[in-house]
């Protein structure tokens, strides 16, 4: 692919971002059992903003997302090369423990996946295993704070002992976000967080994402271009393992430069 190289140099940053760069990728390649899934992706993701990854299925956007918290480690045969830095620290470095990394990089999945435990235990799980709270009071405070940040506190405050799975889909997803927030990460990855939710629940999650933007670097993979347009400040378009175009969301959705982006966004993909 001749245009990979040109892109990897030219599309380093979104240009307009005022925020410092949080995640920096250079020539990241991923292959699963020899099959190339991601080709030389280079990107600068700014802090305290929402960056959306869009693209057709199998374009590598989720693969790239999973590189950021090394979830690819759990897949047999996965090979990651290139440089990937969060706050200047190399993610794939041998000295970086994935457990520490994942405490720092939260992740929210497509299907709400609360643990089959109480709402309280769901949120308290991360702080417990990482030893973030020294006392029960402290833990209570973390749980309340996280649930508040996730906009769920008012709905569940009186039933923290109910199972997390008893909540509605949208509430479950917000619970999962609260669980991710509870360990105080700096980056939150979201892999199609609304694809299983109804529009109202989706709107609530989007509102939440917009609020969280003030404190976190959020990267969201979505199949809904409208959603990407609504929630993100930067948008990156992936196609067949390549990062085709990266820019401010406004630019991507009004005046994409690459014909592939144009075709994908306008619904003309062949």
């Amino acid at each position: 692919m001749p245009d990979n190289q040109s892109h990897s140099d030219s599309i380093a940053g979104a240009g307009e971002a005022e925020q410092p760069v949080k995640v920096q990728a250079r020539d990241v390649c991923v292959s699963y059992s020899g099959k190339q899934a991601l080709n030389h992706v280079s990107i600068d993701v700014p802090d305290r903003s929402v960056t959306a990854f869009i693209g057709p299925s199998g374009c590598g956007k989720s693969t790239f997302l999973r590189c950021l918290n090394r979830m690819n480690d759990t897949i047999e045969g996965a090979r990651v090369t290139g440089s990937l830095k969060i706050d200047g620290l190399e993610v794939n470095d041998k000295s970086v423990d994935p457990v520490v990394l994942r405490a720092n990089v939260g992740m929210v999945f497509q299907k709400p996946n609360p643990f089959p435990k109480s709402i309280y235990d769901n949120v308290a799980y991360g702080p417990r295993i990482h030893g973030l709270a020294l006392s029960k009071d402290e833990l209570d405070a973390i749980v309340e704070d996280s649930l508040r940040k996730a906009g769920l506190w008012d709905e569940v405050a009186d039933r923290l002992n109910h199972p997390g799975t008893s909540l509605s889909g949208g509430q479950q997803q917000r619970l999962v976000i609260a669980r991710a927030i509870a360990v105080n990460p700096e980056v939150i990855l979201m892999d199609e967080p609304c694809s299983a939710l109804d529009p109202i629940a989706t709107a609530k999650i989007e509102e939440l994402i917009d609020e969280l933007r003030e404190n976190y670097c959020i990267i969201i993979v979505t199949h809904s271009m409208q959603q990407a347009a609504r929630v993100s400040q930067q948008t990156a378009f992936f196609h067949m393992g390549n990062l085709v175009e990266y820019g401010t969301t406004e630019d991507i959705f009004t005046n994409p430069r690459d014909p592939r982006t144009q075709d994908y966004i306008t619904g003309r993909f062949g």
Binding site: M225, Q226, A229, F253, T254, N255, P256, Q262, D263, I265, T266, G267, R268, F269, G270
Partner: protein, 229 residues
């Protein structure tokens, strides 16, 4: 013909965009006819076109309403993006401009009827000249619209200054003539209105050129826009 070479995955969506384009082109054609008819009526001192023009004006108005509906529908149901978004927005703007042009053309046709009651004036050839230029402007910009060409649009945009200059000169001379001969005041006012209307049609043509430029390039047409190469 759509702005992009590739067809939409959802055929109905593509068809709707094409239909919007076609409707816009038809409206443009109709408005152009209106303007030509009105200018010709002035030149030939023809008082009989008013009814014909009024009929067509109704058609133009209906088409504008139709285009508005289509655009609304596209926004609500298709959520157009990128080029499609720009095209839809531009179509809305252009249709408004065309409707205004239609109004002004109708007004000119009415003035032709009034003017036919007066003896021919010496400045009439200047008015005709202005009218010819404006028709040319409109024609070029509508051609550019149907082929999505930016370069003619930029030319039209630049040529507006000439229209303004001719109009200003006409007004000056008219005022002098009216000052010399008070019998010229009544037909002169009519002619001034015709000239004013033509000048404004030129402005609307420029607006269409701007909308077309934005539609194709996503950039505003500004004073420092380099001529398309």
């Amino acid at each position: 013909m759509a702005l992009s070479k590739t067809a939409h995955i959802v055929t109905a969506y593509g068809e709707e965009l094409d239909q919007l384009n076609d409707e816009l082109a038809r409206m443009g054609g109709l408005v152009e006819t209106q303007l030509t008819t009105a200018i010709n009526a002035i030149a030939r001192r023809d008082a009989g076109v008013a009814g014909e023009v009024r009929q067509r004006e109704k058609q133009v108005n209906a088409m504008q309403v139709d285009i508005e509906k289509r655009v609304l529908r596209l926004f609500a149901l298709r959520q157009p993006m990128a080029t499609d978004l720009r095209m839809t927005i531009s179509a809305l703007k252009i249709s408004t401009d065309l409707e205004r042009i239609g109004d002004l053309a109708k007004n000119i046709a009415y003035r032709a009827k009034d003017l036919s009651a007066y003896p021919a004036l010496g400045l009439m050839d200047r008015v005709e000249r202005l009218g010819a230029i404006v028709i040319q402007q409109l024609h070029v910009v509508l051609d550019a619209l149907s082929s999505f060409e930016v370069e003619p649009a930029i030319r039209v945009w630049r040529a507006d200054d000439e229209v303004d200059e001719r109009y200003n000169a006409l007004v000056r001379e008219m005022l002098i003539s009216m000052g010399e001969d008070s019998s010229l005041v009544e037909p002169g006012v009519h002619i001034l209105f015709v000239a004013k209307n033509l000048e404004r049609i030129g402005d609307h043509a420029t607006n269409i050129a701007e909308a077309l430029h934005f539609m194709v390039t996503a950039a505003p047409l500004e004073a420092d826009t380099p001529p398309a190469s």
